[in-house]
Amino acid sequence: MKKFLIIVLVSLTVPFFTFFSASAQSASDILQKVDDIINAPKDQFINMTITIYDKSLKESVRTMVTRQKGSDKRLVKFLTPADQKGIGFLSLPNDNLTVYLPAFGKTRKIGSSVKNSKFAGTDFSYEDMEAKRYSSKWNPKLITTAGGYYVLELTPKTGIVTDYLKLMMYVRTQDNYPVKVEHYDKGGKLYKVLTDNKITKIGSYTIAKELVMEDKKNGTKTKMVMTSIKFDNGFTDDIFSERELIK
C-alpha cells in the first residue's frame, strides 16, 4: 500500500516537475542555441562598413576589418577614414582590451570601466561590442512564443556589471537566430534596439549581414554592413596578440 502511494505520488508530481524544468530548460536551451548559432564558426574574417547617422540623419562612414576566434577573441582594425587607418582593438578574455594608435606606434590597455562608453563614436558601447556568450552574462526567461519567435527576457546574472536592466531578445523559432534585441535602461525604459537584418546562410553557418543599433533616447543610429565574410580560416591564437595588432 505504502509502495502504491509512493508510486501514485511520484506519478502525480513528476509531470509538474517535468513541466517546470522543461520551461526553464527551454529558455536557457534557446539562449544556449542562440549562442551556439552566432558563435558557430570556429573563426571569422569580416570586412565591415560602419555608417553613423546623427539626429539629422547626417552620415559619417568608416570601414574596418575584424578577425574573431570562438566567442571571446577579437581583433579589429580600422581602414578608413584615412586619419584613422590602422587604429586597432584587441579584445581578449577577462575584459582585456588593448588599443593600438598607429600615429604613435604604441599600444595601450583600456580600462574595463568604460564599458558604457560609445565604441568609436558609434551607438554600440564597448559592452555591446564585447565578444561574449549571452548565456555567460544573462539569465533567460521565456516570455512568449508567437508569430514564429521566442521572446526571451534576459536579466543580468549576479556579479555581472552592465549598463542595462534587461534585454528582450526576439529569436526565430525555425533556427534559433536572434533578430532583434531591445536594451532597457536601469529605469526600465527602452534605450537601444539592435536589429539583425539580411540573415543569410553561408555554408553551414547563419549570419546577419547587417546590424542596426538605434539609440532611442538620442535618436541616433549606427549601421554595420558586412561587405565580405570568410569562416573557418584556421586562425591561431598568435593572431590575437599585440604583435598582430601593431602590424
Partner: protein, 750 residues
C-alpha cells in the same frame, strides 16, 4: 452718438470681452531668458547656436553641498545614487558627476580611459577616500569644475534633451533629488532651472500683483467718490482692457514674461484715470432725471476730448520705446501696454458713458465755489489756486531751484545690465549663482566658437593661446576645451602634456574618446567646429566691456582664412545691451517728445498751448533723472522706460488742465477765474488720479523682478511730480505770462 447707441455698445463690448476672456486660458508664459535677447544681435545668435549645438543652454546643474567634505563614503554614495537615478529622468540625455566622469589615468602598462570613481566600486576606507580626493583636486580638469577647491561642493551635471519641455524636466530633476532626503544641501543651477524659477515668479507676480492692484484702486476710488459706480466704472473699464490686451496676446501667441506680467498693474494704474474723469464729469453734469440722456451726451462731449488726448499720448509714450528696445520682452511689454491703454481708452469713452447713462441720477452733486461745505481736498485746491494766482513768480523760482539741484544728480545715474541681478537676492537663482561665483568661479558663460580643422595641431595651439588668455583673467574660471583631453592623452602616450606634433596623432587620440558625452560639449562630429567655454564672475559693466574687447582683439589676431574665431557669451551680450540701453533712452525720449508735441499742436490747435503743456513734463523729467542719480536707482531694462512713460502719461495732467482752462476762457472768464476754476475742477481729478496712479505703481514694490520694483517707485514719483507740475507750474506760467491759449474770436463768439 455713444449715448444714442448705448444698448448696442454695451452688448457688443460685453460679447467682445467674453470672446477675449475665452482665449486667456491659452495664454502661456515664456520663462526662457535666452529668448528675451534679440536674435538680430550676432553675439546673441552665436550664443544661441552654441547653446543648441554644444548643450550649454541645456545643462541642469545640481550643486551638492556636503557638511564638510564631499569625499566621504556617504556623500559619494549619495552622489552616485543620484547620478544613476537622474539618468533615468525622462528628458535627461546624460549625467556627469564625480562618480562617472571620464578619467584618463597613466598606468604601469600604458594608460587607462576609465571613470574617475567607479560607481560599482566606490572608495570606502579613509585611505581610499584620501587618495581619490588628492587625485581629483590635483587635476585641473576637475578642481573648481566638478569639485570646489575646498571640496565642500560638487556638481552633478544633467544634459536635458533639446526637444523636451525643459521646465518640466527641471522640476522632475529637482523632485528626484529632494525625494531622496539625503542630508547634503542641494542647489539647482543652469538654464532649465532658471526657466522653472522664472515660471514660478511670473505666476507668483500675476497671482499677487493683479488682485492687489484691483483692491487698491477700488479702495482709493471708494475713498474719493464713496459711490458704487465711482468704483465700478473705472475698474470695469480697465478690467475689460486688461482682458482684451491679454486675450490678444494669447491669440497672437505672444507669451507672458516677467515684465509683461505687470501689464495689469500698469493698465490699472494708468487706465483708471480715464474712467475717473468720465465719472467725475457725469457726476457734475448729469443732474436732471428728465434730461439724463442729453446731459450724459454733453458730459461726454466736455471731457471726451481731454480723455482721448490723454490716452493717445500715453499710447505713444509706450510705443516710443518699442522701436529700438534691445530686449524682446520690453518690446512686447510696450506694444501690449500701449494696446491695453488704447483699449481702456476706447472702453472709457464708449462703454463707460453708455453704462453710466443707465444709472439713476446721483443725489449729491458737485457744487462749485460754494463756501462752507468744502471737502478737505477742495479747500486745499482753493488755497492753492489763490496762492498761484497771486504769487506765480515764487512758484516758478522755487521750481527752478529744485530743477537746478536735480540737474546735478543726472550724471550720477548708473546702469545695471546683469540680468541675474534683476532677481531678488533671496531667490534661488541668486543664491545658486553666488555659490557658483564663490566656489566654481562664476556662472556667466563666455565662449569662443572656432571654425576650421580642429585636429590640426596649429589650430589647437591657437585655441590653447585663447585658453591661457582666459585663464589669466582674474574674473574668469573653468576654461575648458578639447585640447585639455588631447594633452592628457598625449601625456599618457608618453609624449608629454602638450598638443601632439602631428594631425594624425591628434586624430588617433580623438578617436579614442569620440562620442563621449563631455566631448560633445566641445567639438562637433566632423571636427570642423569647436568651442572654448569658460565662466565669468558677475562684475561691473565696465569690466565686461574690457573682457569683451580684449578677447576680441586676441581672436582677431589669431583668425586666418582657414580658421576663424568668434566670441559670444554674456560679456559681449552685456556690452551690446549697455550700448543699446543709452541709445534707446535718448531715442525713445526724443521720439516721444516729438510725437507728443505734434499731437498736442494738432489737438490743442495751438503751438503755444502745446509748448506750455510740455513745461511740467520737462520739469518732471529732470527731477526724476536727478532723483535716480541721487537715490542710486540704476538705469535698467525697466527704468529705461521712465522717460517715455513720463512723457506719455505725465502729459495727461497738462492736457486735462489746459482743456479745462480753455473751456473757462471761452466762457468769458478772466485768467485768474479760469485758473481758480480749473484748479478746482481738473485739480480734483488730477489729485485723485495722482494718488491712484502712485499707489497703483507702488504695488510693483511687491514684484519679483527688481527693475519692476524700481520702475514702480519711479513712475509713482514721476506721476506725482507731473501732476503737481500741472497744477502749480502750469498755472503759474499761464498767470505770469497772461496766456489765454484761446483765439480771441472764439471768446467773443461765446
Amino acid at each position: 452718438m455713444v449715448i444714442k447707441f448705448r444698448a448696442f455698445i454695451i452688448i457688443a463690448f460685453t460679447l467682445l470681452t467674453a470672446f477675449m476672456a475665452y482665449f486667456l486660458k491659452d495664454l502661456k508664459i515664456n520663462p526662457d531668458i535666452t529668448t528675451y535677447l534679440p536674435k538680430s544681435d550676432s553675439v546673441v545668435a552665436r550664443f544661441n547656436y552654441i547653446g543648441r549645438n554644444y548643450s550649454s543652454s541645456l545643462m541642469a546643474i545640481v550643486i551638492v553641498e556636503a557638511e564638510k567634505d564631499v569625499f566621504t563614503k556617504e556623500t559619494l554614495e549619495h552622489t552616485s545614487e543620484l547620478t544613476t537615478s537622474l539618468k533615468l529622468v525622462e528628458g535627461v540625455d546624460y549625467v556627469t558627476s564625480l562618480t562617472n566622469v571620464l578619467d584618463i589615468k597613466k598606468t604601469d602598462d600604458g594608460f587607462e580611459i576609465s571613470r574617475l570613481i567607479e560607481e560599482n566600486n566606490l572608495p570606502k576606507s579613509s585611505e581610499e577616500l584620501k587618495k581619490i580626493k588628492e587625485y581629483t583636486l590635483g587635476k585641473k580638469l576637475y578642481r573648481g569644475n566638478l569639485v570646489s577647491e575646498d571640496s565642500k561642493y560638487t556638481v552633478i551635471v544633467c544634459r536635458v534633451n533639446q526637444d523636451v519641455d525643459k521646465n518640466s524636466v527641471a522640476r522632475k530633476i529637482k523632485e528626484s533629488v529632494l525625494s531622496k532626503k539625503f542630508p547634503e544641501k542641494y542647489y539647482f543651477e543652469g538654464v532649465p532651472f532658471q526657466l522653472m524659477n522664472i515660471m514660478d515668479l511670473v505666476i507668483k507676480d500675476l497671482m499677487l500683483l493683479t488682485p492687489l492692484i484691483v483692491l487698491l484702486i477700488a479702495f482709493t476710488l471708494f475713498i474719493s467718490f464713496r459711490t458704487f459706480r465711482g468704483i465700478l466704472i473705472p475698474v470695469l473699464a480697465v478690467a475689460m482692457g486688461v482682458i482684451w490686451s491679454m486675450g490678444l496676446m494669447s491669440i497672437l501667441h505672444v507669451e507672458l514674461s516677467p515684465i509683461s506680467d505687470a501689464i495689469p498693474v500698469v493698465l490699472f494704474s494708468v487706465g483708471s484715470a480715464y474712467g475717473i474723469h468720465i465719472y467725475n464729469r457725469f457726476k457734475r453734469v448729469v443732474r436732471d432725471k428728465s434730461l439724463k440722456k442729453e446731459q450724459s451726451a454733453s458730459a461726454l462731449r466736455e471731457v471726451g476730448l481731454a480723455v482721448l488726448l490723454a490716452g493717445l499720448t500715453t499710447v505713444m509714450g509706450f510705443l516710443s520705446f518699442v522701436f529700438n528696445a534691445y530686449l524682446n520682452i520690453i518690446k512686447e511689454f510696450g506694444i501690449f501696454s500701449a494696446l491695453g491703454v488704447f483699449f481702456v481708452l476706447i472702453i472709457s469713452i464708449t462703454f463707460s458713458p453708455a453704462l453710466l447713462s443707465y444709472f439713476p441720477v446721483e443725489k449729491t452733486h458737485f457744487q462749485p465755489l460754494k463756501a462752507g461745505k468744502f471737502h478737505f481736498l477742495e479747500r486745499f485746491l482753493n488755497k492753492l489756486s489763490a496762492f498761484i494766482t497771486f504769487h506765480p513768480k515764487k512758484i516758478l523760482i522755487s521750481s527752478l531751484l529744485l530743477l537746478l539741484g536735480m540737474v546735478a544728480g543726472i550724471p550720477l545715474i548708473k546702469d545695471k545690465i546683469d540680468i541675474l541681478n534683476y532677481f531678488r537676492p533671496e531667490t534661488d537663482m541668486r543664491i545658486t549663482a553666488s555659490i557658483m561665483n564663490k566656489e566654481f568661479g562664476g556662472s556667466l558663460p563666455i565662449m569662443v566658437l572656432v571654425r576650421g580643422d580642429i585636429q590640426n595641431p596649429l589650430v589647437l595651439e591657437k585655441m590653447k593661446k585663447i585658453k591661457i588668455f582666459l585663464e589669466q583673467q582674474p574674473d574668469i574660471k573653468n576654461v575648458s576645451y578639447v585640447g585639455d583631453f588631447i594633452e592628457e592623452m598625449n601625456d599618457c602616450m608618453g609624449e608629454g602634456k602638450k598638443i601632439p606634433d602631428s594631425r594624425d596623432k591628434v586624430s588617433n587620440l580623438m578617436f579614442l574618446i569620440e562620442g563621449d558625452d563631455m566631448l560633445r560639449q566641445m567639438i562637433n562630429n566632423d571636427k570642423t567646429e569647436a568651442v572654448i567655454q569658460a565662466y565669468v564672475r558677475n562684475v561691473e559693466t565696465k569690466r565686461y566691456r574690457e573682457i569683451y574687447s580684449s578677447l576680441n582683439k586676441l581672436i582677431e589676431s589669431l583668425s586666418t582664412n582657414e580658421i576663424t574665431f568668434t566670441q559670444s557669451g554674456m560679456p559681449g551680450i552685456y556690452s551690446n545691451f549697455d550700448d543699446s540701453l543709452m541709445n534707446n533712452l535718448l531715442q525713445s525720449l526724443v521720439l516721444s517728445l516729438v510725437l507728443i508735441f505734434i499731437t498736442m499742436i494738432f489737438l490743442l490747435r495751438s503751438i503755444k498751448s502745446a509748448f506750455v503743456g510740455i513745461i511740467p513734463l520737462l520739469f518732471t523729467m529732470v527731477v526724476i533723472f536727478g532723483f535716480m542719480g541721487y537715490a542710486g536707482i540704476a538705469l535698467d531694462i525697466c527704468t529705461i522706460l521712465i522717460a517715455s512713460i513720463t512723457v506719455g502719461a505725465g502729459i495727461d495732467y497738462s492736457i486735462h488742465f489746459i482743456t479745462e482752462y480753455k473751456n473757462h476762457i471761452i466762457k468769458g472768464r478772466s485768467i485768474k477765474d479760469a485758473i481758480s476754476n480749473t484748479i478746482l475742477i481738473s485739480g480734483k481729478s488730477i489729485v485723485i488720479n495722482i494718488i491712484t496712479v502712485m499707489l497703483g505703481f507702488l504695488v510693483l514694490i511687491f514684484a519679483n523682478l527688481l527693475p519692476l520694483v524700481n520702475f514702480g517707485i519711479l513712475v509713482a514719483i514721476t506721476m506725482c511730480f507731473s501732476g503737481i507740475g500741472a497744477i502749480t507750474i502750469l498755472p503759474a506760467v499761464i498767470t505770469l505770462f497772461n496766456l489765454k491759449l484761446v483765439n480771441k474770436n472764439k471768446i467773443i463768439s461765446n
